[in-house]
Symmetry: C2
Subunit: 295 residues, 2 copies
Amino acid sequence: MKLTFLGTGTSIGVPAIGCNCEVCLSQDPKDKRLRSSAMLETDGGLRVLIDCGPDFRQQIMRYNRQGKTPFFDKIDAVLFTHIHYDHVGGTDDLRPFAWFGDVDIYAQKDVIDGLHQTMPYCFKEQLYPGVPHLKLHQIRAGRPFTVRRPYESTVEVFEGGATLQGIMRDKREQRIIPPALDELEILPIRVMHGNLPILGFRIGKFAYITDMKYMEDEDAQMLQGIETLVINALRFKKEHHSHQLVNDAIEFAHKVGARKTYFIHLTHDIGTHDWANSQLPDGFEFAFDGQVIEC
Amino acid sequence: MKLTFLGTGTSIGVPAIGCNCEVCLSQDPKDKRLRSSAMLETDGGLRVLIDCGPDFRQQIMRYNRQGKTPFFDKIDAVLFTHIHYDHVGGTDDLRPFAWFGDVDIYAQKDVIDGLHQTMPYCFKEQLYPGVPHLKLHQIRAGRPFTVRRPYESTVEVFEGGATLQGIMRDKREQRIIPPALDELEILPIRVMHGNLPILGFRIGKFAYITDMKYMEDEDAQMLQGIETLVINALRFKKEHHSHQLVNDAIEFAHKVGARKTYFIHLTHDIGTHDWANSQLPDGFEFAFDGQVIEC
């Protein structure tokens, strides 16, 4: 399984608008952190997006560009950790992915209610042309669910756009979506983001947790046996009411026994990426945008 | 007065996610169109943002980068044309601008109601730390209002971030905001976006209109005497239920007597920027992201 960090920044990203600190002015691409989000791909071909923040369009444009053309394939599941803008603000930009069928979104009830409130135009009986077709699945902490794509399907994708001379391509292309060769059992785990119960996700020996301030012991037990942990660590010092700091995250990773831990949801306060990484003990890394890890 | 096009693209931007047409693959920066938005600056120093779509963070990061540090100054008014995601989706990212005082937003009642629905966390009595402080002003088509900044004020801006070695800058800086030397009378004008009445804005001899399908004659009369018109023109052909095409926009510009017209809210269907521009009659241009015009 492979995880690509689409974004590793805190709610305002790095650089922060209006900030002229040395980190925000750094030209190192690793110091450019879009809002936290990640894409998980199984060996069998399933694709799971974790969170869809306001930078989603930028992120998906850069994703997987080894090929000739930008990435555009079925996303089998979108997992939402919580309803805050920096985690759901790009949901509207999922709409092209609805060419492959409804976009399956998995979230807690409060997030589902929130999406109905913030994107009412997506949940009417008669949808305005072009709005994203979203299928919301309610999930609960502690209750695993399975993402699969067992059958081949054929979809018709609209080939819009034009040649350099403006000759419009007004045709449709048939695309075959092969079945995925595996399936993914996902365990949602309760995470406390200040007073707000949100979700982290365990998938096999991997877990993804963001915006955590603390986790109750009984929930943390569900993480026993993981090898790779992605977890939020806002900055080294200066406590925050709803986010843990680097030391908290290190302690937590030790507690659940992770072998390798990557930090996300980072502020400019950590210093530059390379320096910040040099401060961490073995087995810990600050993630950076575009980084790909096996997990 | 100076207008900077922050974005000139249609609701999904150009390139379109998933599109591999020649326009979307073009490497010409003029063929990269973020969602439509513009910044107006008066000679006397007032700054007015028109729409704040999902690309606002990217747009403001690039804006006005001639100086050493990124732009960060008071925005005196944000004008919203309508509530659709591609025009208001970045409102949360206005939050750093609240360091200069509440962010003044001018919009129709349906937009104000919509913002209360989509951003409920911004309008509670007790605001969560860090949410944008927005002050909503209800405006109506045909009733002019004035934007001004008559007095000098001093604000305390938080100097966050860190040095390259992660030494945090935990201090505040006093910033003096000088008074603006002029004021701006803005006339909202009813524009029909399909069946939805939205707003365009006339400011002196300049007007900004987006997402128009048509305008009633009595409203169009309010545009008599303008010199510079910015207006939407989706593509050359293939009718759209709520957006006019290039020929409609040319006809409209002639009708209201604009001397110079710039097209925005463009799709990949128009072809590449340079080719598309070569197809227009004198006095008409497709705008591009980052273009600055006097108006």
